[in-house]
């Protein structure tokens, strides 16, 4: 494991004397900024210090100390370690923090999430509505004093399970229709979805009068939540003028299960299988990110062989993700299922490997702190070699021969702008979309984790930022992943697969850690705060899909509705990760 210091040697204290203090709590890094100077400090961090990519915004509820904290993680697009800055406010309603949306546009949805789940009001946010929960929801669920309907205890393991574990099913204890709480004076029967009025209201600003004085009707189309092109239960409320998109708001949360809250009830190890269910296409990558974060916190090394196994698994996962991405993009464009099924063939073969090694095709749960669960069973390495050295390169070529020059595809994709480099950075976009816009930012290179610094590979980058580039960059990345895999297979040493003794409850020292990896969809990061107890105090997932759709409105304005389908397609969202 490479241990890059989380904070570089920026002296924010000297720049804002009296308003900024260094965070000196043991295990913590970064700076605590005075609330009134936040916007100014953030502007300086962006413009003077050059941290132009704000990756994560999240809140922490320090219930016992009666304060709330908002944590920001900013990085330089040229690479290197990040800068953490925080704001602390008293935990008395309303908890107010100035919004950073004017400085970092990418803070938009993340601030809405922090408002929704933690009740932190971001003053100056133009559209501060709930995002994951619905409007008739009582309270802010990530607050430590909020309890879910099936609440048993604050922390697992629950005492009722052993040694007197007479089974009692949650639904019997807490019957259906009795497990709901509503805000005061709220009658669900009489409720008119005020949220929808708010939602459409936020779209109303796009009312335009024709230049000839003609009033034409604009039409609101709800694409989704049940729509084949939205990759799950994603809904976009779109204002249309003819076929042109004039306004758009993403509506998400249909698959929300409060992963963060579950994670805070769990022990560190218990979270591992839960991470599988985030981006269910890439459970290996999800495991990787979580393992990196916890290992940072525990400050342990990973067994050498396990490092290689991890890279092999993560890159195989990337290959199958990108292949399926190509297939699904073609699905969205109307090439029903032929390319998708070709992609699924290779995916099946890769999943066979996951199944043989981890025991499950999709919910792998393969990583442990300090290594992996088990060594590659007999014959699996040979299978990987066969795929990587023989089959996958040929199949990638075949995919390219099949699609890349197809005139229909090219005319659908070429020249339709997704986003330019400047906006992509502004909106905190990461992953292939950012690289297709011409920014060679890949965490495997920019802020290496695991053993990625040992491999020789190029960061795939394309210059136009149109749909075609977004398609081609996936093929490029498959090729680069194959390069990494070839080296990893050659170099993999024998040896133990875990540096730690197997423990069902790990000891984690107090402190914070931000573990980030380059998942196939962009930056996947886990922000953890430990107070030295067996369960994390704060467990936050920063998923690539969720942050990437912040720019969806920006991307789609002025395009045709038919292109919107493709634009949403290239963002490569997965609702399991987006809604959490």
């Amino acid at each position: 494991m490479t241990t890059t210091p989380l904070t570089s040697t920026v002296d924010l204290v000297a720049r804002f004397p009296g308003f900024v203090t260094a965070d000196t709590r043991p295990g913590f890094t970064g700076f605590i900024v005075d609330k009134n100077k936040l916007v100014e400090a953030a502007t300086a961090i962006r413009d003077e210090f050059g941290y132009d990519l704000l990756t994560a915004v999240t809140g922490v509820d320090y219930f016992p100390e009666n304060k709330m904290e908002v944590v920001y993680h900013a990085y330089k697009i040229t690479g290197g370690p990040g800068l953490v800055f925080k704001v602390q406010v008293p935990r008395t309603d309303p908890v107010e923090v100035p919004s950073l949306i004017q400085v970092y546009a990418g803070a938009d949805l993340q601030e809405r999430e922090a408002w929704d789940l933690l009740g932190i009001k971001f003053t100056g946010h133009p559209d501060l509505r709930r995002i994951l929960m619905w409007e008739g929801f009582e309270g802010h669920p990530l607050r430590k004093d909020w309890q879910e309907p099936f609440y048993e205890e604050d922390f697992k393991p629950f005492k009722s399970r052993w040694p007197d574990g007479k089974i009692e099913m949650a639904e019997d204890k807490n019957p259906y229709k009795d497990n709901l709480k509503f805000p005061q004076n709220f009658d669900p029967e009489k409720w008119i979805p005020e949220g929808d009025a708010l939602l459409y209201g936020s779209l109303a600003k796009y009312t335009i009068t024709d230049e000839h004085g003609l009033k034409s009707d604009r039409i609101v189309v709800n694409m989704g939540p049940q729509h084949p092109s939205t990759h799950g239960v994603f809904r976009a409320a779109i204002v249309l003028e003819g076929e042109t998109v004039l306004g758009l708001k993403p509506v998400v949360g249909y698959l929300h299960r409060n992963h963060d809250k579950i994670g805070e009830r769990n022990t560190y190890l218990q979270n591992m299988p839960y991470t599988d269910r985030l981006d269910y296409f890439n459970s290996m990558s999800n495991n990787f990110g979580y393992a990196v974060a916890v290992e940072k916190l525990m400050n342990i090394k990973v067994a050498e062989r396990a490092e290689y196994i991890r890279v092999i698994m993560a890159e195989l996962s990337r290959i199958q993700n990108h292949l399926v991405f190509v297939g699904m993009l073609l699905n969205d464009l109307g090439a029903m299922y032929t390319p998708a099924l070709y992609a699924f063939e290779e995916r099946e073969l890769i999943l066979d490997i996951f199944e043989a090694a981890a025991g499950s095709r999709m919910m792998c749960n393969y990583f442990r702190f300090g290594g992996v669960v088990r060594d590659l069973p007999e014959g699996v390495l040979q299978k990987i070699k066969d795929l990587v050295l023989e089959r996958l390169p040929a199949k990638t070529d075949e995919m390219e021969r099949f699609l890349s020059e197809n005139e229909v595809l090219v005319s659908r994709l070429q020249g339709i702008k997704v986003i330019n480099a400047e906006d992509a950075i502004k909106f905190s976009m990461t992953g292939p979309v950012l690289r297709a816009a011409g920014v060679p930012y890949d965490i495997r290179r920019a802020d290496p984790y695991g053993i990625y610094d040992r491999f020789d590979f190029d960061v795939a980058v394309r210059q136009h930022g149109d749909l075609m580039d977004n398609y081609l960059i996936r093929i490029d990345e498959i090729r680069q992943s194959l390069r990494i895999l070839e080296q990893a297979i050659k170099q993999i040493p024998e040896g133990p697969i875990n540096s730690q003794k197997p423990q069902y409850q790990v000891r984690v020292p107090a402190g914070e850690a931000y573990g980030r990896i380059e998942s196939p969809k962009g930056e996947l990061a886990y922000y953890l705060i430990s107070n030295g107890k067996p369960n994390p105090w704060r467990y936050h997932v920063r998923p690539a899909s969720f942050v990437n759709i912040t720019a969806l409105e920006k991307i789609s304005l002025g395009t045709k509705i038919a292109d919107f389908v493709a634009l949403l397609g290239v963002l490569d969202i997965v609702m399991g990760e987006l809604d959490r």
Binding site: W162, P163, I167, A356, M363, V373, E378, R401
Partner: protein, 203 residues
């Protein structure tokens, strides 16, 4: 030439279309069965698979790898008198490590002394809540709880498994996971031998 790309692409589909039939022919010439036959399934899931890729479930099955995991079960050893010797000591590690907390164990207490006896009185797994993560099997120090291979368990009822349903013989375990079972048996025997040697040395 406009349309060249489409033709190029169509050649791929064309090749894929015929591959099924050429493969069928090749298998026919070799006098082997390609469908409804384990060899055929294996070939279709191998690295050289061409043409049709699908497996005709339920007539055909993919081979289940040894490490495949599904709802856990409890292992018991069969003694000479055909008594079931449950390996579980009701230590509760599986119940503590279980992420969705779907394991419920009642420990046996000695009726006379009131002290706990290392045998579970009752053992429940709520199979509808179980997420098949395999942590219970991974951290069990007695090789008493293991992950099953039987995945066809759909039912109309709420699936709460009790001891009766959960207990399966060690021979079943050795059958579905031969490599693991041998390795664990050897480790256990070595441990017992070491313990015996230690006891002998002490006495």
């Amino acid at each position: 030439m406009y349309g060249k790309g489409i033709l190029k692409g169509l050649s791929v589909t064309w090749g894929r279309f015929w591959a099924t039939y050429t493969e069928d022919l090749a298998w026919l010439v070799r006098g082997k069965k390609r469908y409804f036959n384990q060899d055929g399934v294996k070939a279709r899931a191998g690295k050289d698979t061409r043409g049709i890729f699908t497996v005709q479930y339920p007539e055909e099955h993919l081979t289940i790898p040894e490490e495949f995991r599904y709802i856990p079960f409890l292992v018991y050893d069969e003694t000479a008198e055909e008594k079931k010797e449950v390996r579980c000591t009701s230590c509760g590690i599986c119940a503590k490590v279980c992420p969705p907390q779907c394991i419920w164990i009642v420990r046996t207490n000695d009726p006379v002394t009131g002290r706990p006896v290392p045998v579970p009185a009752e053992f429940y797994i709520d199979a509808d809540i179980c997420m098949n993560c395999g942590l219970c099997a991974e951290y069990c120090p007695f090789d008493a709880i293991k992950m099953d291979h039987d995945f066809a368990i759909a039912s109309y009822e709420r699936n709460v498994y009790n001891m009766e349903k959960l207990l399966k013989p060690a021979s079943y375990y050795a059958n579905i996971r031969p490599l693991n079972a041998t390795r664990e048996d050897e480790a256990r025997k070595a441990k017992e031998a070491a313990k015996a040697a230690k006891a002998e040395a002490a006495s």
